[in-house]
Subunit: 332 residues, 2 copies
DNA sequence: GCCGGATGTGGATACGTTTTCATGAATCTC
DNA sequence: GAGATTCATGAAAACGTATCCACATCCGGC
């Protein structure tokens, strides 16, 4: 609702009330330069009395940059990205920095639009889960943005710091765990863009001398429908598989759902293991064995990186952890 | 990463390139006022050639307001609020408006800080799930913000439009459903701040001539730990109850978890019904019967309201829907 | 007691845009 | 065809801040 428009108190008002110049007020309030204790006191008192809040608008224009950080994620509804965003917010808010958020839906075009929007707003610091390839980001770098990638790097942009999970180690742990249970026909349910994990999967299978059947590597788009279709197709047509590794919580959800729908019993008929630990993994029956990823931490670290972009910094790789619950059993 | 600083192309550059005044450029580009087709053409060509993007900074300062909308939610990790945020983002992005997001953790103090931050940034339009009472919002109204509340209204601020679910109808539907199954000892697991639903619960029970036992109305804070403690306490100490109504998905999750932990079988020992439909409700066993709320729609509607705040508008109440799955059975 | 440096201060400017206002040209009206 | 009206246009002002620069004051050192 709208109230009466009353002119906002500006730095000028404070200057008059404190009987000093605006420059002095600015210096005192921003802590730059020097000022005598007496005037400092006067200014502070006047500012408090008038309930003065400096306008970010004026400051931004003068500094030619908007404070705060921009955050671009594919889907806020996916708990993984929600936790990532939560980490970013935790760090940003404790630093008093506002956060501008946008969802790309994993669509490079929308990503490009959002990047443009950030440039227009002169947001200089951006954390993004990139969906497009390097060229979407050309304008961003040309505009001088400080970018940190999260979850995935962008090939061809290795110079941009990225905070990612240790995909190779995570996948290897999962595959080794399944192999130890006797599984040989392992399927990988991946999202488009998870090529890193697919490569790691092939590598891990190879290392353990397990057969890599390319038909058991299925890709889906980042929607529930697409994930379900992929999972159902896999379970329906490939009855020789004995274990499924899902590349993310959406894929895992789809796999559990499809298994139930097709009367495939877990873990008796097929074992299941999923990337990303989520609250419902404990709720479904049997509880899901997962490779947990520190999503919130990932966001927090990315925010730290982008906030102190002073010194040249390389990316961070965060560890995964195998959490054994009840969805994997010995090969039938 | 940081690239070389090159002066951003301004409206002045475009004016020179097009051999017109800056005022004309502004008019053409913003579509205000009138201009001859010839000059319009020249300006557009020059702008395109220079790849000009108007700076939101300058515009904001001139207009004395930041575009876009501020969004304040308790917890982005709670899928309900994530879906709400998703709705807001969907509407805002299709209108080309940036969104500044903040999480309050249901803490009035943090909420007040975030409100202050929004005022400082001159964000004029705000959608909020309020945690504090009316007085937190005093400064916001004094600063002339356009506020729309979501999910919950604020008592004492009935003049502020609010987009809420039809709590009374939702609760009544749930209670009637349970009553029809023969349940009489029904517990309500509520979050602090859900007093509206608690009142509706008492009312519905009364209408059906069921006993209202205040000890069966339990409140928790908005964290998983608190929710679990409340649910476990309820199931542990009150073995005479035969049905539990959870006021939100966090509470429902806790109830399912606690029931499993305490070997309480659903629905044989106790029936369960939960506010808010979430993906995992279908995954757990038995699948959870829920009162679904249109969370994403709620966000979208709130965004619509706050964007066309031209004419005085009242709030919106959205309907709920009972989705029967497998977690409710006849009274044992 | 004069000079050089340090220190505190305020006037003025710039940031990039939108909008008001005045001006000149073009079109219309009777 | 003269006056009235519309139309397109650009110069200039404003938005609120940070910072450069010049000035004034004060101090210690010789």
């Amino acid at each position: 609702m709208k109230m009466s428009e009353q002119r906002r108190t500006t730095i000028k008002d404070v200057a008059e009330a404190a009987e000093v110049g605006v420059a002095t007020v600015s210096r005192v309030l921003s802590g730059t330069g020097s000022s005598s204790p007496a005037t400092r006191e006067k200014v502070l008192a006047a500012a408090a009395r008038l309930d003065y809040r400096p306008s970010a608008l004026g400051r931004n224009l003068r500094r030619r940059r908007t404070g705060g950080i921009g955050l671009l994620i594919p889907d806020i509804t996916d708990t993984f990205y929600a936790r990532l965003a939560d980490g970013v917010l935790a760090c940003a808010q404790s630093a008093g920095e506002p956060v501008m958020i946008g969802t790309t839906g994993d669509d490079p075009e929308r990503e490009a639009e959002l990047i443009g929007s950030l440039i227009e707003e002169s947001v200089e610091r951006v954390i993004a889960v990139p969906s497009g390839d390097g060229e979407m980001w050309g304008p961003a770098f040309r505009a001088g943005l400080d970018v940190v990638f999260a979850e995935r790097p962008v090939r061809g942009r290795e110079d941009v710091p990225a905070v990612v999970t240790d995909d190779r180690s995570g996948v290897r742990t999962a595959v080794e765990y399944l192999a130890a249970l006797g599984h040989r026909r392992v399927a990988f349910l991946a999202r488009h863009g998870q090529e890193q994990r697919v490569r790691a999967f092939r590598e891990a299978m190879g290392t353990l001398a397990l057969p890599v059947d390319e038909e058991l590597i299925v890709r889906a788009r980042a929607t529930r429908d697409s994930a379900y279709a992929a999972a159902a197709g896999l379970l329906h047509h490939r009855s020789d598989l004995t274990a499924v590794l899902a590349g993310g919580n959406l894929l895992g959800e789809a796999a559990v759902l499809a298994a139930r729908e097709l009367d495939v019993r877990v873990p008796r008929d097929v074992s299941m293991i999923m990337f990303d630990d989520v609250p419902w993994a404990e709720l479904c029956s049997p509880p899901l064995t997962v490779i947990s990823q520190p999503a919130q931490d990932m966001g927090y670290r990315a925010a730290e990186l982008v906030l102190r972009q002073g010194r040249r910094t390389r990316g961070v790789t965060l560890p995964t952890e195998l959490i054994v619950r009840g969805s994997c059993g010995p090969r039938r």
